[in-house]
């Protein structure tokens, strides 16, 4: 067994679509370390989301092995995966997925309730710059604000890994940069492992490592010796 926060050996995921077998992910091997920022790049249909879902414990691989801190996840049952998501994983989605009838603060509290070692929701809200919007409902917030709430919600559980699926996909440039800055800070200040999935190659400039996916194959992993600060990233 190898050391490292998360270790994947020959991960595969096949879907049966009628008579066709779709190979969404083919024998991907990689590891994630504590406190690093990884960007997964690839065109649509390359298997990015499949990879994220498997890492996030929302889906199980068809083949291969996956270990989180030495524990196997590829054989885990639904209950174990729930516990894994609950205590170790934070998600940020392209479309925020906030609860429409909870306020910003309450949305964060919702995830604090189930965590074992949570962070303060009010502090986090201040951190993402929305202290004065605590009592607003999602419908009263802009897209960027909603995404920042979603980020605070993901962080509130104090997870080891933060998984972000196209976090800036629905945002304009300026707002996107703000969100990316927050993700970078998360990585640095809290020592979290952040995985960002995107098809926006520019974002890769801020990563420690870049995974290139194509047709379900993890083609290469690139080390970035000089990650750019988010504010310098342009597209």
């Amino acid at each position: 067994m190898s050391e490292g926060l998360l270790v994947a050996n020959n991960l595969s995921k096949f879907y049966q679509m009628g008579e066709v077998t779709v190979k969404a992910l083919k024998e991907a091997s990689f590891r994630l370390e504590e406190g690093e920022l990884v960007v997964v790049l690839g065109p649509s249909g390359s298997g990015k989301s499949t990879l994220l879902n498997i890492i996030g414990g929302m889906d199980r691989p068809t083949g291969g092995e996956l270990f989180y801190r030495g524990k196997s996840l590829h054989r885990a049952g639904a209950k174990e995966l729930t516990v894994y998501r609950r205590h170790h994983i934070g998600f940020v989605f392209q479309f925020y997925n906030l609860m429409p009838n909870l306020t910003a603060l309450e949305n964060i509290q919702l995830s604090v309730q189930i965590a074992s070692d949570p962070l303060s929701p009010t502090e986090l809200l201040a951190k993402v710059g929305l202290a004065d919007r605590a009592d607003h409902f999602p419908s009263q917030l802009s897209g960027g604000e909603q995404q920042r709430v979603a980020l605070a919600r993901a962080l509130a559980k104090n997870p080891r890994i933060l998984l972000c699926d196209e976090p800036t996909g629905a945002l304009d440039y300026g707002t996107s940069i703000q969100v990316l800055q927050l993700l970078k800070e998360t990585c640095e200040t809290y020592g979290k492992t952040v995985v960002i999935i995107t098809h926006n190659t520019a974002i890769a400039q801020m990563a420690h490592r870049i995974f290139y996916l194509k047709d379900g194959i993890l083609e290469r992993i690139e080390e970035n010796q000089t990650p750019l600060p988010p504010e310098k990233v342009t597209w």
């Binding site: 989301s49 499949t50 879902n53 996030g56 929302m58 889906d59 639904a78 209950k79 729930t82 516990v83 894994y84 998501r85 609950r86 205590h87 994983i89 998600f91 989605f93 479309f95 997925n97 906030l98 609860m99 429409p100 009838n101 909870l102 306020t103 309450e106 509290q109 919702l110 995830s111 309730q113 189930i114 965590a115 409902f137 999602p138 419908s139 009263q140 919600r153 559980k157 699926d165």
Partner: protein, 787 residues
Amino acid sequence: MLWRKMLRDILENKGAYLACLVIIAMGVMIFTSFASIVQSLHVSQQAYYENQNFADGFVQVTAIPPGTIARLRDIDGIEDIQGRLVKDVTLWQPENPENIYLRLISVDPNEPNPINGVLLSQGRPLQKSAREMWLDNQFFSTHNLSLNDQVEIIAAGKRQRLTVVGVGSSPEFVYALRSMADIYPDPETFGIGFVPWDTLRTFFPDTDSFNELVFTLKPGAGFEQVKEELERQLAPYGLISIISRADQVSHQLLQMDIDAVESMSTAMPVMFLGIAAVILYITLKRLIEQQRGQIGILKAEGYTDPEILRHYLSYALFIGLVGGVAGSLMGSLLAYPLTAIYQEFFNLPAFTAAFSPFHFVGGIVLSVGFALLAGYQGAKKVLSLQPVEAMRPHAPIAGKRIFLEHFSLLWRLLNTQGRMAVRNLTRNQGRSLFIFFGIMICFAISSFTWSMNDIFQKMLYDQYEKVEVYDLKITFAQPLKQDPVLRELRANPGVQQVEPLAEVPVTLKHQWHEEDVVIIGILSDSRLYNILDSDYNRMEPPENGILLSERLAGLLEATVGTTLSLESPLKPDDRENTVVVAGIIPQYVGMNAYMEISSLQRILREPGLATAAMVNMDQEAIPFFKEKYLTAANIAAIEENGLRLNKMKELMDTYGSMIYLYALIGVIVGFAIIYSSSVITIAERERELASMMVLGMTPEEVLSVVTFEQWCIGVPALILGIPVAKGMMGSFGQLLNSDLLTMPTTLSSQALFLALMVTVASIWIAQRTAARKIRGFSLAEVLKSRE
């Protein structure tokens, strides 16, 4: 192609559509079956009454010579009036422990147009003065008799033989009760015999006159005026009563039942179809929200608005049609067993079950109509959608603060899931209201039907187990002096206790109110007849005072202390007497007044007069006792309490099955509402609920948001269900209350508990389905898509 899309969409959300379908089918089933029964009852009743010349009025007198009748025919408004002798006799059947009674009615074989003419189904006409009779068909078949059988009766203490030469029925005895104290017709112990007048008169040597008159009215004539004139002219003949057709027992009960079935055949289907319409409306509305994109594409492709509307209406049409056809089919089939039940109670010759094409088609039309209306309401939004707008996702759901949040103390008690649930209640108020209504209906109907069951048992059993606790009741042929009779009865082997009973017909008056009732006179310390208050405490009939049943007190507008005037045909003079109301008691079977027997005798100025005796005795001595007195001229009837109770229990079994049918219907409706709205809620919030699971919540935690919400609605709905059930009992009681029955409107705690169990179980089952759906969420897919 769109047709196929519709079928697939329906399959995808089969839970909600199935619930809708079931409710529609049940509504239509009730409509088709009951409406066709009502029609058949109506038609056969009308035809029967008309063909057999059913009387408009019934007169009882002590005795009137046949020669005087012709004079009455001249009274303005009377079309025809005929006299007859009516006598109750017992059948001579020493081997049978149960007494069998026949009501013998004199018939004039020469009368060309008899009032209440017998409809002969077998046999031949009666011959003047011959010792022969016709029997009513139910009695005839129940006792496995055949034509030319000999029937032996005891009339005026003498055994007499009559040959059965015909079988028939009379409009007067569609619902043949021996007395007002009976609740249902029982051909095993009671039948009607029609005997030539010249024969019947010889059985009763002291009566050479008629004791009843029946008359028909000219079209447009008023009963009341005729009654007044008759009262005047009949006074010398010991007039006992004049009643109109409307008050005739058989007619009254038949009419009551027709009315009840009729109101059920309209109210229930409307309720059911209404509920189904709401489910259909919600489901379609949601479907259209969901398929905005598809609608946009269809519009962009060039489909016209009516075409798209037609497409969505086809869902409603499909559900309405399938539900309607299924319901009509089931209803047409159900009409047969239901008719059979009614046939057991009602002796209506032409009343049979028949397939009614009108109601079959009517049921389908009704169902399709309701469905299309609901469908149009749910689908009309597609008309206003512009293609571009339609393809754009709709605005996000706006969260709102709710009223409860102003009570911060209370609000803070809730955790975040709790707050979410409570806010959801107001997010879709219509839906919440519908669930509320469903839970309430489920609870109210089941507690109502179970209470009804309890109450019927209570009403009937109490009478024979707690009130009338004697073993035998011996009714005298005419009032007797009590002392020698009681002495004689007491001397029999096995007799433990004998008490006198006076049942005296009286007219009680208070202000302008007037009621004809029977006063029951018993000993003040009676052990065999208990008068009970509502808490089952024994009450002693007061000396000189009168106890009234609640219903009688209501009709007379009398309270404790009210002075009533009292008249009785048994009273020798015409002087009016007064009596003070000493108490009001509940009475469920019959409507009586009670007095201490000697006070009653004093009022009648008949010391020692009794009309019956109650006896408690060893069980094994009963057959011998009955045999001994069966032929006694002074005794009209011997009734055994245990046998009556058994009969009642048999009847309750039939009735019980009807009640369980209603309970089942209530539960299905309630369940369908709870289930369908729960399924819709889950489908609607799929994304939201899935997000919570991604956060790491267990399916149980996610479900708890939904269930908490349901309980928030459910608990108040259950509480409000209690008064609703009470209201249902009240209005049902109104419908049923008569001089025969008074229904208490209390909900039994047992019924409430059972109803609670059923409702909670329905909610629980619906929640299990929700849990299964939640566990089946594909997180990855739900979240990837945009809302």
